[in-house]
Every structure is written in structure tokens, then in C-alpha cells.
Symmetry: C2
Subunit: 442 residues, 2 copies
Amino acid sequence: MSRSIHLNLFIHGRGHHEAGWRHPGATRKALTDVSYFADLARRAEAGRFDSIFFADSLELGDGARYVASGALEPLTTLAALARETSHIGLIATASTTYTEPFNLARQFASLDHISGGRVGWNIVTSWVGGAAPNFGYDRTPEHSERYARADEFVEVVKALWDSWADDAIIDDVTSGRFLNRGRVRRIDWKGRFYSVAGPLNLPRSPQGRPVLVQAGSSATGKAFAARHAEAVFTAHLTKASAADFYAELKQATIAAGRRADEVVILPGLSAAIGSTDAEGQALLEELNGLTDIDVGLSRLSNRFGGHDFSTLPLDQPLSRDDFPDPSTVQAAQSRAVVITDLVARERPTLRTLLRQLAGARGHFALAGSPERIADVIEDWTESRAADGFNIMPPVLPAQLDIFVDHVIPVLQKRGIFRREYAADTLRGHYGLTRPVNPHFHS
Amino acid sequence: MSRSIHLNLFIHGRGHHEAGWRHPGATRKALTDVSYFADLARRAEAGRFDSIFFADSLELGDGARYVASGALEPLTTLAALARETSHIGLIATASTTYTEPFNLARQFASLDHISGGRVGWNIVTSWVGGAAPNFGYDRTPEHSERYARADEFVEVVKALWDSWADDAIIDDVTSGRFLNRGRVRRIDWKGRFYSVAGPLNLPRSPQGRPVLVQAGSSATGKAFAARHAEAVFTAHLTKASAADFYAELKQATIAAGRRADEVVILPGLSAAIGSTDAEGQALLEELNGLTDIDVGLSRLSNRFGGHDFSTLPLDQPLSRDDFPDPSTVQAAQSRAVVITDLVARERPTLRTLLRQLAGARGHFALAGSPERIADVIEDWTESRAADGFNIMPPVLPAQLDIFVDHVIPVLQKRGIFRREYAADTLRGHYGLTRPVNPHFHS
Ligand SMILES: Cc1cc2nc3c(=O)[nH]c(=O)nc-3n(C[C@H](O)[C@H](O)[C@H](O)COP(=O)(O)O)c2cc1C
Ligand SMILES: Cc1cc2nc3c(=O)[nH]c(=O)nc-3n(C[C@H](O)[C@H](O)[C@H](O)COP(=O)(O)O)c2cc1C
């Protein structure tokens, strides 16, 4: 029997392709208009997606000049969308580097209550350089320091989520007893970075704990995922690289004392879909034709901690030597490795590389008919390169509609994707169990 | 002509009376069930209230044992309610002591976009002692230190809200230019407490700036309000005290270089309403009969920074000497003054005092017919003791329904309250103008 797959919709501006917003298939609504996002969420729910996801960056990037950006904040947005949807999971990104664990634990627990158990937290350490000066730092804390904080941060947050027994509320009008204080505990955390007394000031949430999602892929990032993550987003340009990552992370998860199925691995997939392969290809070329070299250069530079690539020739094959050593990159190390590996392997020109990255910023990009997209999805999951995909439509909403109307029915016919929701919570959709509360026996 | 008044609904658990949750008129829904709050918001909107408001405390208080508490977080809750309502203002409390200005500015701006310009921020410095240890502090920063931080915090937040010109977004698909970077500025704030580069990562919000609300009433608190607040919540046990406060704050606002009508003053009013005065009185007595002495003692102790009142006799007249000097109280100084003044004036027994405070925690409490409630509202506003009221129903939703169905029509008939909304934003309802952006000329 074939494996059933998981699909997350990554919502990003007016589409993931850098020039997607300029395409006629893109919405003309403002990115501050929540009705646009509500509409996407409802379409994804109609397509039976497991979840939708908002990324987040704590700075206004340089790209904003030429790319539709400057958008709503994820937690407030998903709270608004929670009431417009009934089943789909809602994943918000939030940073461990620039927030307080008590505030973060509380907002996510609140959102889990509001949505009836549909929330996930994409844990990030915020690699973008522009965030630090918005929070009193001269520069971004080092990669290893960020992950050390993140590790402790997540432990604190879990302890806060577990600070109420599921049965703590008595709510007895007759006796006047509301809360069983013996079923609520302080956490009295005193660690290297955080000191938090607790308890949290709201009851344990429907999922017990919101689903922990992560997308780091440096060695440190993968070790972190193996310990904590219940779903992992990851970027690969080839199936082989995805399969390596998959095997390595499942193994590391087992080594960390968890089961392999306690982590759902979702590589990114940006599909330019047409009714035929040729039409899909034409769409991608149309989009590439709308990109801007300067935007691409500035984004590439960002990935490599500010390195200047603008002096390189545009139309000669690149080599690995044209790039700084990725291990010296403090920002997004793993993405830097993906890019330099690609350069070493394929020797693209700078122009070709920028276009390739414009499509999906280092994620797998594909153009073709619905059947072809479904084939790739099935092939990667059957080959244990993925448990499903993080779907990144190049143009929104047009390419989401085509995915829902034409790719999902193919997956359903093949028996690898749900026709109806079988669960009401994000944990349910991902096949994850509700964590027992280690501090309270029932 | 009579003055038109403003009404804010203060939503608090299952009602403001300490024992309200035990009354048959209280909801039986869980406090984590957002549909309960959505229902209240819609009822308030049907009654044409200016706004609804959620208070917030960053700890789980001791009272939780006997009082319905442990509730959703205000920003996520109001984001959910934004989509269930279309006109009513949405005021969330957030702390300047335990959050980062960038995160707070952003979530409020996001919510202002999501709600189409209906958001207010109740600025608090968090007086409850239990918050500090949830954020790495041994104890609550001193009163003056908290207000000094708050002052700078608010300046930073305003600067972030003003970091985009209203016309910064070009969104020109043809030229590929999305943002006019010249109409977005860094704020480069370097102050005593905060260093924040900016700009914010989302466009200026519909109201320009969310409405600034405040409820401090120490001398420092009032000076802060005079500088920053556009609406003020305040607690008074007598009309005379409210009138003094009103005159003082309007004067201080003028002295701070603003107009008197740039601040809307809303004292709290908790009305136990029956079809006759006797019925209202009976309801209040019924509620008082459901209170618990221990809950009252623990709350009173909290107001006085942990002072122990449990050794005092319950049924003998109190005197001022039974209380610590309010000026030594680091928590909520002004409320401590209100209480000791009451004791000096009325010499109540401890039992009577606790019952009086149980009704509305030091706010004006009243029992009677709809006409009587309307009379008080009109009298206080005509006498310049108030610009309107912060309505605190003792039992929710029953007493809100009665207020909407029976008090509001009386106010409308008297021509002092709107029959239909005349504006779409909270600024519009409160008669406040949209702040011009000082950094950009149109
Ligand atoms: C699909 C996907 C989404 C991501 N979303 C965010 C995000 O919203 N905010 C962020 O700061 N980083 C985001 N990241 C970056 C990762 O959190 C991580 O920093 C990056 O993959 C580099 O890994 P490393 O930190 O282990 O070197 C994302 C990565 C992926 C693959
Ligand atoms: C109606 C009203 C609502 C309030 N809501 C909150 C709140 O949600 N959170 C909080 O920490 N303080 C709240 N306060 C307390 C005030 O912010 C302030 O701390 C208190 O009035 C004492 O004033 P002072 O700080 O100037 O001494 C509220 C006060 C009033 C009158």
C-alpha cells in the first residue's frame, strides 16, 4: 500500500516566486488585507491541506523595494483565520532570540484554545541580520549561541504548557471552587538564559502542546530538530539530497530517544502548474522574465551574511571559489551550503543561479502538468525523501487554485491523500499523539 | 444640548462581581471558549458600544482558586473577534515592563490592519507582583522605574508606527516597484532603556496609530496619561472624586500641550440592574451572599503589596490606622488611596468593605432600575465627572443584555448615545482625529 502524505501550504506574499506578484494570477489585494489570507486559508481547507504556515522576519528587508512584502504579523493573523476555518492546522513562526518564553507560550496556548487545537509553532532563531538592531543588539547573536538559547527556550515553553493538569478546572458553582490549585504547578525554571517561575496563566490547551515545527538544517539545527521537532520544513534542490536529509534526521530522532514517526518531514515544493508540461514551463519562463537582477543579488548577499556578489560577471559559469566558505556564514548556514553545492555541481552562470533561486529561494522548483507534479510528490514520498510537502505556489491565489483543483484530486485518486479530514487537530492531521503531561498523573 | 457619551464594555471572566460566575445569569462556557467572547462582542456591537476591552495580568493570581479566571490572551482573542464584528473598537492590554517595543508595536499595528482601524492599546506597567518572576526578575521594578520605561517605550512604539508614510506602497506591477523606500524611515532610537533601529516591517495602520488608552492614577500615572493617553479608565467610589480627577486630568492634558478633548475619560461603573430598584438591590445582595471572605482578603492584600489583613476583626469598624500608608505601596498606589480614603470616610467593617470591593474592585457600583442607571450616567457626564463609562457588568452575559436592552434605549431616547455608528474606527467613535505622521509631508 502507498503511504499517505501530508501537505502544508506555505503562504508568502502574493506567491513564492520573487516576481509572482507581477503576474496576472496574483491577487491585487493589499498584503495588509486579512480577507486575502482568509480566502487562501479557506481554499486550502477545501483542498484538505493539513495546515497553512506563515514565515516571519523581524526586519523590513531590502528586497521590499521590488518584492511584495511588509505584511501582517503571524499570530494575530492566524487568530483571525482560526474563526474562518474549522479543520486546517495553523502554523505561526516566532523567534526564540527576540521574545520572552512566558509571552510566547501564552500566545500560542491561547491560539490553540481559540482554534480548537490546530496550532503549530515554527521555532526560529532569526537568522536575518536586520532583526538584532530592532531589539537592542548591535549584531545577531552567534549561530551556536542562538541555538543554545533556543534549546532552553523550548524547554521553558513546554514546561509552561504543562504547568496545568488537563483536569485542573473544577468550575463548581455550588461550592464556589473554580480551580484545583494542586493540579497547577509553578515551574521554577532557573537556567543559563531564562528564569521563569510560572505557572502559565491559562489552562493546558486542546493539543496539550501546540505542534513544534522547525526548519534549521545546519548540524546544530538538525540536532535541535531531532530533539524537539514534530514537523520539519526543509529546502532541497534534488531528491537525493532530500533523501539523505530524511534518513539522517529520522536516525537522529531515534538516537534522541524518539520514534521515527514522531517527526514529519516536509521539503519545500514550488510547482508552476499548467494543463500541459509545456504550459507549466511557459509560466515559469514568464515569471523568470519578470525578475530583477538587483533583487536577486541583494537576496543572495543576505544569505551569505552580506557578501557582495555584484562584481561577478553575469553570464560566465560560476565556481565554488566565487563564494565564501559556507561554514563561516553566521546567518543561514545550511542554505548557503545548498547553494554552493549547486554551484560546484552545475556551474551555472550568475544570471541562471539568480533565476533558479528567484523561483523558490533554494527549494525544489518544478514546472509541468498536474500529473507530473503528482508523480514527483508520490515518488519522493515513496522513496523516503519526504513524508509530504511544504507547498509553495509561485503565484497566489491562481497556482493554489490549480493545485487544489487539479493536483489534489490526482493524489486522492491514487489513494495517498485524504478526501475528508479524519481529525480536528493539527496533531491529528500529522498523525502525532497528544503529549501526556509528565507532571500530573490522571 | 446634552453631551453625547462614550461607552466601553470591560469584559472580565463571567462578570465583574467576584461571585458573578456562580450566578445563574452567568455563562457556563469555559473561559477558554472564544465563542463566548465573540458572543459578548456581538451583543455590545448591537448595543452600539464604542469599544470592548480586555484587561491583562501576567501571572496566575491566588484568587484563581475561587474566582473564574485563567483566560485567553487579549491580542489573539481580539484578532479572532475582529472578524466577527465590523464596527466596535477592540482594546487590548499589554505591558511595557515585560515586552519588547518592536514586537508590541507590530502586533498592535497588525491588529489595526486586521480590524480595519478599530484597535486600542491599554498601556500598563503591570503592578501585580507575580509577573516579575515570570520574566527573569526577582521582584517588580519600582513604580517610578516602571513609568520611566513606559514613557520611553511609548515613544519608541509611536516612532515605529510612524516609520512608514501613509503612501509608502507603490505596488506597480508594470514597473516592478513595490515600495518607495524613501517613504519608509529607520527610527534609530537610542534611549535610556531601548535601542531600536526600525523601520517597522509593516505599513502604517488604518488609524495611523492605534488609540492609546491608560489607567494609571498615581501622580506619575496621571502625568503619563496627560502626555500620552487618548482614553483613560479610572476607578472612583464617588462622583466628587471622579469630578476632581476629571478636572485635574483635563487640565494636565492642556498643560502638556494637548487639547482637553484629546483625552476621553471613562470611570468604571458596575451596575446591578433589575426592572425595579428593589430588584437591582436584591441581585446585588444575592451576589454579595455568594462571596468568600478568603478571596476578598487575598485580593485586598494584593492591592497593598502583600499586607496581611486576616488578623483584623471582621465585624468592627475599621480605621485608617488598620492600613499601611498607601504611599509606601509599590503595586497599585492609586487604588490603595481610594480604599484608605473610603475607610477613613465611612468606617466600614472589614466584612462590609470586602463586599463593597467584591462588587467592582473599587469602581463605582450601583444597583437599581434602568432609569436609575441612566440617570447616574447622564448626571456624571453632565457634571463633567466623565466623558462616558467603562461598563463592568457584575454578571455576564445576563447583565450586559439588560444594559443593552433597557439602559441604552433610555440613553438613546435622551439623545446622549448614538443609535447607529457614525464611524468605522475606534478613533471615529471616540471623536479623536487620525494623527498626522510627523516625519513625512504628503
Ligand atoms: C520552509 C522554511 C521556512 C523558514 N521560515 C523561517 C522564518 O519564517 N523565519 C526565520 O527566521 N527563518 C526561517 N527559516 C530558516 C530556518 O529557521 C533556519 O534558520 C535556516 O534553515 C538555516 O538553518 P540553520 O539555522 O540550522 O543554519 C525557514 C526555513 C525553511 C526551510
Ligand atoms: C479599568 C482599569 C483597568 C485596568 N487594567 C489593568 C490591566 O489590565 N493590567 C494591569 O496590569 N493593570 C491594570 N490597571 C491598573 C492600572 O494600569 C494602574 O496600574 C493602576 O490604576 C494604578 O495606577 P498607578 O500605576 O499609576 O499607581 C487597570 C486599572 C483600571 C482603572
